[in-house]
């Protein structure tokens, strides 16, 4: 029914430190996949490979039938560090990719306006990033990527530096956007609750060498409300994933001590 299917065949990497073992992962259109794993498991590496910021040692990544060779606007990325351009206002940051594409100014203004409304920062459009809170900066960064209308949105622990309350609000906002736009999303995190709450599928990765350990479908209903985090179904999933992750962290720790 949908001829667009995305195949990430064998995103592989072998280096002195084997950050990512030969890995196969297929992400379907409109899927929200979270990649969950302890730090140092190669989940960020995987994401950077998809973004084209890093080249796989072996294997290839295919997006809509085309192999990925370099970064491009079809794969928007939100980083954990704050990467808004400090010399541009919020509005100009959101318009960055559109300008780079050569979208005419009036059209740019319309798109930027829509995104400002969606992320609730209309009154901050002329502010510089330094004048914003961390949460506002990451909201703008998400809007900046999505304004480009990418085929897939890549998020590398985007809420990692935020406090718990802001983080929860940001999760809801992102989920809200996804429920409306139905973008394909690949979201890297080490937070189990975050992984379950957002995802339609959680991919658990092992630590050193990084490889996929489990692939869990999350069939909690949409739209999701934050109260779902306390539901029994959620708790079952959380308990299961906690076990998977715990085994990994313990393994990694023993390996560290041995070496």
């Amino acid at each position: 029914m949908d001829n667009v299917s995305r195949i990430f065949a064998g995103a592989r990497r072998r280096a002195p430190t084997r950050a990512l073992e030969p890995t196969n992962l297929t992400v379907l259109d409109n899927d929200f996949v979270t990649i969950l794993g302890p730090s140092g498991c190669g989940k960020s590496t995987l994401l950077r490979l998809v973004a084209g910021l890093d080249q796989p040692t072996t294997g290839q990544i295919i997006l809509n039938g085309i192999p990925v060779s370099e970064p491009g606007p079809d794969r928007g990325m939100v980083f954990q560090s704050y990467t808004l351009f400090p010399w541009l206002t919020v509005a100009d940051n959101i318009a960055f990719g559109l300008r780079e594409k050569g979208v005419p100014a009036p059209r740019r203004t319309t798109v930027v306006r829509e995104w400002l409304v969606r992320i609730g920062l209309v009154s901050f459009e002329d502010h510089y990033p330094k004048q914003l809170s961390g949460g506002m900066q990451q909201r703008t960064a998400i809007a900046r990527s999505l304004a480009n209308d990418p085929a897939i949105l890549l998020l590398d622990e985007p809420f990692g530096a935020l406090d718990n309350q802001t983080r929860a609000l940001m999760q809801e906002l992102l989920l809200d956007i996804w429920e409306r736009e139905r973008k394909t999303v690949l979201f890297v995190t080490h937070d189990i609750e975050e992984a379950i709450f957002l995802a339609s599928r959680v991919v658990v990765m092992t630590a050193r060498p990084g490889r996929i350990k489990a692939d869990v479908a999350i069939d909690l209903p949409h739209p999701r409300h934050y109260t779902i985090k306390t539901s029994p179904e959620f708790s079952v999933l959380k308990a299961r994933l906690t076990e998977e992750i715990r085994a990994e962290v313990v393994l990694a720790d023993t390996a560290d001590r041995a070496s």
Binding site: L53, G72, P73, F79, F85, F96, G97, E100, K130
Partner: protein, 257 residues
């Protein structure tokens, strides 16, 4: 006093002025009190009197003007050459590999040592003075700009790439705007150094300018005039510094906030 504890603006200004008061008081005490011979060091009052005479009778304003012109002229030429080269060196590693060793070597060549050579090449005219400033500034600016551009945050460049920016876009829309405030800061710093070069250039083989006036005054043992000349240079330096800071604040409001 506690370490790093801030003070009010009034207190800051007052303390700043207080040192000047101490300075002039000590100077006045040493000279007017007769502890130092007038031949070697004029007292503050004589200095002001001689300075006033310089400005009103001896056309010192013209000397000041010509010195400023030389500094600004040589400095602008150096900046026009050095900024593009520095940006390209910072952005493209082969260009850096090509220029960097020579520029690193050239920056240690003292501009003042070139003066005899430059006099041979360019005579005693304005061109020679401009060249001294140019040589003294250009290599410094090139290297500092190159370092600034190459140290632009890597994640900003990556973010731009995932937004579809190509080589040209990364250069013009990320590297250059990201380093612009620091480049302006580099220019402010190097302009300060250019002031020392111009005076040296004017001390040797010159018929006008602040440096020339200072050499003339030395022959007349007019220490008041020499000190006045030095103070004028200091004041002009301070003003140019202030203008630069003010300009940078208005050009790059995003870098402060």
């Amino acid at each position: 006093m506690k370490p790093l504890a801030p003070i009010s603006n009034t207190a800051r200004l007052g303390l700043g002025i207080l040192f000047f008061v101490f300075f002039f008081a000590a100077w006045g005490y040493a000279t007017l009190g007769g502890y130092v011979s007038k031949t070697f060091l004029a007292d503050p009052l004589t200095m002001i009197e001689e300075g006033w005479l310089l400005l009103t009778k001896h056309g010192f304003i013209g000397d000041i003007g010509i010195t400023i012109w030389r500094v600004v002229g040589g400095f602008v030429l150096a900046a026009l050459v050095a900024i593009p080269v520095g940006i390209l060196m910072g952005a493209y590693k082969p260009i850096e590999a090509f220029f960097e060793p020579f520029v690193s070597f050239a920056r240690y060549l003292p501009a003042s040592a070139f003066i005899p050579l430059l006099i041979l090449w360019a005579g005693l005219g304005e061109l020679q003075k401009l060249l001294v400033i140019f040589i003294g500034s250009v290599f410094q600016i090139v290297l500092m700009v190159a370092v600034t551009v190459s140290s632009v945050r890597r994640d900003l460049i990556e973010a731009a790439m995932t937004l579809g920016a190509r080589d040209r876009g990364i250069l013009t829309r990320v590297l250059i705007p990201a380093s612009a405030p620091e480049i302006a800061e580099i220019l402010r710093l190097v302009l300060g150094w250019a002031w020392t070069y111009v005076i040296v250039a004017e001390l040797i083989g010159s018929s006008s300018g602040i440096g020339h006036m200072i050499t003339d005054s030395q022959a007349l043992l007019a220490t008041g005039q020499i000190i006045f000349g030095i103070i004028v240079i200091g004041v002009i330096g301070l003003i140019s510094d202030f203008l630069f800071k003010w300009g940078n604040r208005h050009l790059f409001p995003w870098s402060l906030a």
